[in-house]
């Protein structure tokens, strides 16, 4: 256990403890604020000098979770955890809560599983039946969201369903840069086709916009593997011929998606980036989802250049850390990662508050509707929760585009700050999905307290929203209603 990482983490938790000490300037916290002048009181979130919502998170969520993890009132139940991933950010978090490690065959309460294990547990053949005090970190058919082809299929169906029902969300408008009409509010995925199935549809679209660039991605792979760009139909044909040849039998079996390449990305400091945001889904029906405030921008290390000679330089186009790591200029101190808070500060400072708020609102919107699109087909088992890594690209008109969703976002830490962030992420996930006493229990109503949210913001809770609506219509009072969709970012 004495890897360098462990000591780092030790230092960090110490630093946290240190930072969260009470200020010694005033007598007590209460009198301290009592004497503060009023001009600061309107933004209550910033009033805490220790910065509960600060970057390294001295946060109440984390420490609160730690306290409950010990299991007050549940002394008899020693919680067994099991993990397929031997990551210190996971194990440290579990052990901090006083859990002990067990095997998958033993009686576990909390399983941080790989997707395959999860599928096995839920398969009919396994005959495994989970009891009420067990939780697992995936939904059995998460691939409805995380496979690129299925995600697009689900979103297309979701839009059609809304349109058929005459829902105003599905309103369309004339557009000049995609085929025919485009959805006004639900146009957040670049035009995409599945190959080889939709080949003819793709060719039709391609002919309409012969100058655009397309990006090919294998449906089942992640971390940038097997991705390439196409700006000539002949290149696709050539690829297709080769794929059918005897040398690449594996490609022939695989399906690909081909999407319109976002060729006008927002550049910062002249560099291209994408956003990695963490979204926690505690339940799909009703939908309960949370957005982690500390997402980050992943920067390309090489300057962005659309010239054709650069088309084959994947470092320019792909921002995946696993791709960038092999580039010559990867920096191990920051790993090309820049916080979303800094992005917001920069955009507010240089473009204004209104457009910045609109962008972040649009991002929340995009996430909620991508989740709604898959909610009907997801097996929403009460034992499950899942943390998704959302990859989003922002174009230079400050419109966000959903690129893909990862059901097993990397928990490997590339930098010290990355480690702190991921440790915090896991800690906050645990405190949101576990009942207040820290013992997994599917009978819990899954309504975490504000403290338990830590750095998560509520994106949507359909159950709470429905209750509010019912209450509002019966009492017809305008009492403070729990926001159905929060989009507080800072």
């Amino acid at each position: 256990m004495n890897t360098p990482g462990e000591t780092l983490l030790g230092d960090w938790t110490q630093a946290c403890r240190v930072a969260s000490l009470k200020p010694t300037l005033g007598q007590s916290t209460a009198t301290m604020y009592g004497r503060l002048p009023g001009n600061n009181n309107n933004n209550s979130n910033n009033n805490n000098p220790a910065g509960g919502g600060g970057n390294t998170g001295v946060g109440s969520g984390g420490n609160g979770g730690a306290g409950t993890g010990g299991g007050q009132g549940h002394d008899r139940l020693k919680i067994g955890f099991c993990t397929d991933l031997d990551k210190s950010v996971l194990v440290n978090n579990f052990e901090k809560r006083g859990w002990h490690q067990v095997n998958g065959d033993d009686d576990w309460h909390f399983y941080w599983a790989g997707v395959q294990t999860c599928r096995n547990i839920f398969s009919v053949d396994s005959g495994y039946r989970m009891h009420d005090n067990q939780m697992i970190n995936h939904f059995p058919n998460h691939y409805e969201l995380s496979r690129k082809d299925l995600l697009v299929k689900n979103i297309k169906r979701y839009r059609k369903d809304l349109e058929r029902d005459g829902n105003p969300l599905a309103e369309k408008a004339e557009s000049n840069n995609s085929s025919g009409n485009r959805y006004l509010y639900l146009d957040f995925v670049p035009t995409t086709f599945v190959l080889p199935a939709d080949y003819n549809m793709f060719v039709e679209e391609y002919r309409k916009f012969p100058l655009s660039t397309w990006i090919m991605k294998p449906c089942g792979k992640s971390q940038g593997a097997g991705i390439f760009l196409i700006n000539k139909l002949s290149k696709l044909k050539k690829w297709s011929r080769e794929a059918k040849g005897p040398f690449h039998p594996q490609i022939a079996k695989e399906s690909y998606v081909i999407s319109r390449y976002i060729d006008n990305p927002l550049l910062i400091g002249g560099k291209k980036f994408d956003l990695r945001l963490y979204v926690l889904v505690a339940s799909f029906r009703p939908l309960k989802a949370y957005l982690f405030k500390q997402g980050f921008c992943r920067f390309c290390t090489v300057k962005y250049d659309t010239s054709v000679t650069e088309l084959d330089n994947m470092y320019v186009h792909l921002t995946n850390v696993s791709v960038q790591k092999h580039g010559g200029e990867y920096n191990t101190l920051h790993g090309g990662k820049w916080s979303v808070q800094n992005l917001a500060l920069f955009l507010e400072g240089t473009r204004g508050k209104e457009v910045t708020d609109r962008l972040f609102g649009a991002i929340s919107w995009l996430i909620v509707h991508s989740l709604r699109a898959v909610a009907p087909v997801m097996a929403s088992d009460r034992h499950c929760f899942e943390c998704y890594g959302y990859d989003i690209i922002i174009d230079n008109a400050l419109k966000p585009w959903l690129v893909e969703v990862n059901a097993s976002p990397s928990l490997t830490s590339t930098t010290v700050n990355d480690r702190i962030l991921k440790y915090k992420l896991i800690d906050n996930i645990l405190s949101v999905v576990l009942p207040p006493d820290g013992v997994p229990d599917v009978r819990w109503n899954k309504v975490p307290s504000a403290d338990a949210l830590g750095n998560f913001d509520l994106l949507i809770d359909e159950e709470l929203a429905a209750q509010d609506e019912a209450q509002n219509s019966s009492t017809s009072t305008t009492h403070a209603k729990a926001s159905k969709m929060g989009s507080r970012w800072k």
């Binding site: 230092d11 400091g269 800094n342 400072g349 240089t350």
Partner: protein, 505 residues
């Protein structure tokens, strides 16, 4: 008495008028005035009143007021400097400090010269060979891709070098005291006047006021109206609140620092850029090296690497800087050394003074002028030894006195450990916390610097942090552990902490 005041006003007016004529904005304003004087609204019979009306109507009055305001703030407040030079003698109690300032500057330049001769490059630069020039111009917007060998270059000096010099400053020993009563490791004996907490409270009193402006409760609206009014003093006053809305910060700072872009500024920038393109200077290497060592590795600023190359390269060529910055003058024998065109020898971390501006301005030109003005007004005092009440020596002294008076426990703790408290905070002071506080908080701190026109917030804030983490500091007994406790400032919130410290009974 009134006569005296009258006379001084006339004296001042004369100085303002002569100073105005030397500014770049004089010519365009003069032309505009001529144009107004010929306009039909101006009546030759009632010249005075009608011209005044016309000036007000054209918005020229605010502009002239702002120019006067800035002249009085910067150039006209140091009248005695030149006069005193003649009578600087051994009797000047601060003579040794001024001497140290001159020597420090000389030492820095000498080491730059030594680097030049060691590497066999001329200090005054050489024309770029055409291939290099082409390459440089082509990569101007992505200088991180411009490759050069920097293995033999190292920063000329770092904060700790300046700290060592400061700590070794020796005043004239007072004969009445025995020498062992003066601690070896503090410099409270330096006879510079610094404020105490009471005076600081008075100075920062506006920070504790919650009055609204213009009867508008909403900060954004207030800010918009102030910017529309264009009065520099109003803009400065607004920054005192410490809650500047991010979208208006860039405009407010430019108004306070008088760095709004004029046509001649853009021309000047292009000229500087061309000089960088055509000549190869040793400071270029030092600038590249510094950015690579600091901003490029900083997770808050690395994305702006390429902007910073442009800004700091042009900065190194800007001879206007040398004429605006006032260095200590004291007759010291010995050789003098040539410096870079700007007069500023890049040191380890200089780019961190420019980096925070990347969050305010998207274009390098805008960024450049506000950064330059900020550097001239504030930053250079942090890297030179000088007797200015806001120079690094005074700030260090202020820090020590505040710590001793208001955190005696910490003071004795440090003393027992034989650790100079200044060692722990010096890098914060010298970089004005840039790279130490996260950008959103740093910009608030710098709002206060600009708003109260004072660097005294830096030592005050350093004390506040030590005080805030006192409990932990009291528990450790080594420099490493102390530094570990103070390493991470990401959870520190500037405004509530400063307000708290100032409002404490």
């Amino acid at each position: 008495m009134e006569e005296l005041q009258d006379a001084s006003i006339h004296h001042m007016t004369a100085r303002v008028i002569s100073a105005i004529k030397t500014t770049k904005c004089y010519e365009p304003i003069y032309k505009e005035l001529q144009r107004l004087a010929c306009s039909p609204n101006v009546d030759p019979i009632d010249m005075r009143n009608t011209l005044e009306e016309a000036i007000k109507g054209a918005g020229l009055e605010t502009e002239i007021r702002n120019i006067v305001y800035n002249l009085v703030r910067s150039r006209l407040c140091k009248p005695e400097a030149t006069k005193q030079l003649s009578k600087t003698t051994l009797s000047d109690p601060l003579g040794y400090l001024k001497r140290a300032g001159v020597l420090w500057d000389r030492r820095v330049r000498k080491s730059l010269n030594a680097m030049c001769s060691e590497l066999k490059v001329p200090l005054h630069g050489q024309p770029r060979i055409s291939a290099d020039r082409e390459d440089f111009m082509a990569k101007w917007n992505e200088l991180s891709n411009y490759s050069m060998d920097l293995a033999n270059y190292r920063p000329v000096y770092a904060p700790k070098d300046l700290l060592e010099v400061l700590l070794s400053l020796k005043g004239p020993a007072k004969t009445t005291e025995s020498t062992d009563q003066i601690p070896q490791w503090e410099f409270s004996h330096i006879a510079l006047p610094v404020k105490n907490l009471f005076e600081l409270r008075a100075h920062f009193a506006d920070l504790l006021r919650s009055d609204g402006y213009l009867g508008v409760p909403d900060l954004t609206t207030q800010c918009q109206r102030i910017l529309e009014g264009r009065h520099a003093p109003m803009c400065q006053h607004f920054l005192k609140k410490g809650c500047t809305p991010a979208p208006y910060r860039g405009a407010l700072w430019a108004a306070v620092l008088d760095s709004k872009l004029h046509d001649y500024d853009i021309e000047h920038w292009q000229k500087l850029r061309n000089t960088v393109w055509t000549t190869d200077h040793i400071v270029d290497k030092l600038v590249f090296k510094d950015i690579q060592l600091t901003a490029s590795n900083d997770d808050q600023y690395f994305v702006f690497e390429d902007v910073l190359y442009q800004v700091l390269l042009c900065f190194s060529r800007d001879t206007d800087i040398g004429s605006c910055v006032d260095y200590e003058a004291f007759p010291v024998k010995g050789r003098t050394y040539e410096g870079p065109p700007s007069g500023v020898v890049p040191f380890h971390g200089i780019c961190m003074f420019a980096a925070p501006f990347c969050y305010l301005y998207d274009s390098p030109v805008n960024l450049y002028y506000t950064f330059r003005a900020f550097y001239i007004r504030y930053c250079h005092r942090l890297t030179t030894i000088n007797t200015h009440p806001q120079g690094i020596v005074s700030l260090c002294l202020l820090f020590e006195k505040l710590l001793q008076t208001y955190e005696p426990q910490l003071w004795s703790h440090f003393r027992e450990l034989q650790i100079q408290p200044l060692r722990v905070v010096f890098k914060w002071l010298m970089r004005a916390f840039s790279g130490h506080l996260p950008p959103d908080q740093l910009l608030i701190l710098w709002d206060l610097i600009l708003g109260f026109d004072s660097l005294e917030i830096l030592p005050l804030f350093a004390i506040i942090i030590l005080s805030f983490r006192k409990e932990s500091l009291m528990q450790v007994a080594s420099l490493d552990n102390i530094e570990a406790i103070l390493a991470d400032l990401s959870s520190i919130k500037v405004l509530p902490l400063v307000q708290l410290a100032l409002s404490r009974d």
